[in-house]
């Protein structure tokens, strides 16, 4: 069975399982919170994955995830929250507006050859700032008053609020990750990786450099905006300060770097780990420590676990699965924690520690990979953004 078929089948299975999880939750009488937890993880997987398609694949480091996310949130907030448009209609429109904005930015920025590396990163940051400033001034958008989404009706076929959020985020998450996978495993993907390694050479080899970057940026912006639009409901009250801040841009970087930048599974693993830890730390009341841990994680992982947790896991998949099964099994059977999520968090930590020790240099290409894949991880980013 070809690897691509395997992956697509895997997607299908995952989709079905995940789709029916809320029903499972109800029949097993597990806390509803698990559903909320899951759909928040979906949110982050989608944001991180879309970011990875631009930054991880092409090497153009973007600090601007907040811009596309913010456009999505505000598009839906203005159209639905302020003007009463149908929510289901507004969400894709939000995605398209974000896409349009992204393409517009790309048109300007990718034509200027000197805008690479950190300059590009700062430009994306500046765009987010400008959008926030514009939204502040323009009363038609926000003007400072904020927009209430609490009165926005959701179509009935989606179910109650929590189920609806779950289904919407699940769908968008699956689409985003599927897109990331398909791109990685395609000509476009190879072109992007070539651009990341050495842009002029890539151009010389016939890679359609400009078009590839535009598509990557477009994918990034579209999915970020799409998910942002759905997320406006979870926010409830949309304000500039709550939307255009450092949270989303920061976390997508952290999650992707942890999970493995440049590989489509990286953000998935990273988002699950980071969000679970963050949630459990919060519920334990360790929020100050939470911040310090995240900061420390960022530092250590960027320098130490360069290829990302996912690739480590895959390289030592037997160890991973066995450890996971044993620890998770033990924790659940002996009912160590009241919450399954806490069980999961502890299991993950153990797995990650096990994977870190002992240290070996795992050469990419061994242990059951599908052959030559693109170089991934922090080292591949070193020459980021071309010349």
């Amino acid at each position: 069975m070809s690897s691509r078929l395997r992956v697509v089948l895997g997607f299908a299975v995952a989709a079905v399982v995940l789709f029916f999880l809320p029903t499972l939750q109800e029949s097993l009488d597990l806390p509803r919170f698990y559903v909320i937890f899951l759909f928040t993880v979906f949110f982050w997987i989608s944001q991180a994955s879309s970011w990875n398609v631009l930054t991880g694949y092409s090497g153009y480091f973007s600090f601007g995830q907040g811009a596309w996310y913010g456009i999505g949130v505000y598009a839906v907030a203005v159209l639905s929250g302020k003007h009463g448009w149908s929510f289901i209609a507004a969400v894709p429109i939000g995605g398209l507006i974000a896409l349009g904005a992204g393409l517009l930015v790309g048109l300007v920025v990718f034509r200027l050859r000197r805008l690479t590396g950190e300059i590009f990163a700062l430009t994306t940051l500046a765009i987010a700032f400008v959008l926030a400033a514009v939204a502040r001034i323009t009363t038609a958008i926000d003007g400072g008053t904020g927009i209430f989404m609490t009165g926005t009706p959701i179509p009935e076929f989606l179910g109650d609020f929590t189920t609806a959020m779950y289904r919407m985020t699940l769908t968008i998450m699956l689409l985003t990750v599927l897109a990331a996978y398909l791109i990685q495993d395609s000509r476009l993907g190879w072109g992007l990786f070539a651009i990341r390694d050495d842009e002029p050479v890539a151009g010389g080899l016939g890679v359609p450099v400009f078009r590839s970057k535009m598509i990557a940026l477009g994918v990034n912006a579209f999915f970020a905006g799409l998910m942002g639009g759905v997320w406006s409901l979870q926010l409830g009250f949309v304000t500039i300060d709550d939307v255009f801040n450092i949270r989303v841009p920061l976390f997508v970087i952290l999650m992707t770097v942890l999970g493995g930048i440049g590989h489509w599974m990286g953000p998935v693993v990273g988002a699950v780990i980071i969000y679970t830890l963050s949630d459990r730390l919060n519920s334990a009341g360790l929020t100050d420590v939470n911040q310090v841990i995240i900061g420390a994680l960022l530092v250590v992982l960027a320098l130490a676990v360069k290829e990302g947790v996912y690739l480590r896991m895959r390289a030592r998949w037997v160890t991973t699965i066995v450890t996971f099964a044993v620890v998770m099994g033990a924790l659940t059977v002996f009912d160590v924690n009241e919450s399954l999520i806490s069980d999961f968090a502890m299991t993950m930590v153990v797995v990650v520690v096990v994977l870190l020790v002992p240290a070996r240099v795992w050469r990419f290409g061994r242990n059951g990979d599908d052959g030559d894949g693109p170089p991934v991880g922090m080292d591949a980013m070193t020459e980021a953004g071309g010349s």
């Binding site: 480091f61 300007v108 920025v109 200027l112 000197r114 805008l115 590396g117 950190e118 300059i119 990163a121 700062l122 430009t123 940051l125 500046a126 765009i127 700032f129 400008v130 400033a133 514009v134 502040r136 001034i137 801040n245 450092i246 920061l250 970087i253 770097v257 100050d288 911040q291 310090v292 995240i294 900061g295 420390a296 994680l297 960022l298 530092v299 960027a302 320098l303 922090m378 980013m381 070193t382 980021a384």
Partner: protein
């Protein structure tokens, strides 16, 4: 009092403060190829330290420089040694220093709480005082910051062009290996430079502590302004930073007065974008490091 003239004057002065705040990042980036986001935390941490020392020992806030400057010089030096050891390059520096930023923010909040801290006018006579010339007021904190910025900018330019150290810095910025071949130790130069960068940030923190209330969330509000100044002024260019700071300060201040305060951040960021798009090498590139 002519409103516009007052607006321009205060804009120039606060531009000096912006320049001070940006010097650290500009120098690291230009000479060391490290984009050091932790400098933002250093500025704020320095402000907190100035506040704490002033309040605990009841001294003139300016005196705290004696302690604060060396401390941050050392911190900067240590940080650079860490980067060298960890072989941090430009891209990783963004992420790693971001991590430091988050850690420092959290530490500051734990120690000083999220509440607003202000030295208070009994100990701090500079906060509300000003020099008045021909009906135009020059507030002390930003006046001092401007003065310091001018002195530093001029000195740095002189140092970079005329002293051995300055030439060593420029050599390292352009090609560390070649510099080494000529007897310059790049890592020593880098450590010194990082120390100075952090000291400049600490100085900026002093003027902030003297000029306003501080709280943990303050650091994030500086990102936009500082990056505008850094890019516009040119990486590693001290005079450029000063010029850019003044331009940003005057533009934002004038925009605020003419179109209302909401226009000020918009102007700042438009300047940033314009600088990034049209002149990412900065305005006064000739006298820069790299």
């Amino acid at each position: 009092m002519d409103l516009i003239v007052q607006g321009v004057v205060t804009g120039i002065l606060i531009g000096g403060l912006y320049a001070l705040m940006s010097l650290g990042i500009s120098l690291s980036w230009g000479a060391l190829k490290i984009i050091n986001l932790a400098q933002f935390s250093f500025i704020l941490l320095s402000a907190y330290l100035v506040y704490q020392l002033t309040v605990s020992f009841e001294v003139d806030p300016l005196l705290t420089l004696v302690v604060v400057l060396p401390v941050f010089f050392a911190a900067g030096a240590l940080m650079q040694m860490f980067f060298h050891w960890a072989k941090v390059d430009e891209f990783k520096s963004l992420i790693v220093t971001f991590g430091f930023f988050i850690i420092l923010q959290s530490v500051m909040q734990t120690i000083w709480s999220a509440d607003f801290r202000q030295i208070g006018t009994t100990l701090n006579e500079y906060q509300q005082g000003s020099f008045v010339i021909a009906g135009i007021a020059l507030p002390y904190p930003s006046l001092m910051a401007f003065g310091a910025a001018v002195v530093i900018a001029i000195s740095m330019s002189a140092v970079l062009t005329r002293t051995y150290f300055g030439k060593a810095v420029r050599a390292v910025a352009q090609d560390p290996e070649m510099a080494r071949a000529y007897g310059v130790d790049p890592s020593r130069v880098a450590v010194m430079l990082s120390g100075f960068s952090s000291a400049f940030s600490a100085l900026a923190g002093l003027f902030i502590a003297v000029g306003q209330s501080i709280f943990p969330g303050l650091a994030v509000t500086w990102f936009g302004v500082v990056f505008s100044v850094v890019i516009l002024g040119g990486l590693g260019n001290a005079m450029g930073a000063l010029t850019a700071g003044v331009i940003v300060g005057v533009a934002a201040g004038t925009a605020s007065v003419v179109w209302g305060p909401l226009a000020a951040p918009l102007v700042t960021f438009i300047i940033l974008i314009a600088a990034l798009l049209f002149r990412p090498e900065g305005l006064l590139t000739r006298r820069s490091v790299a």
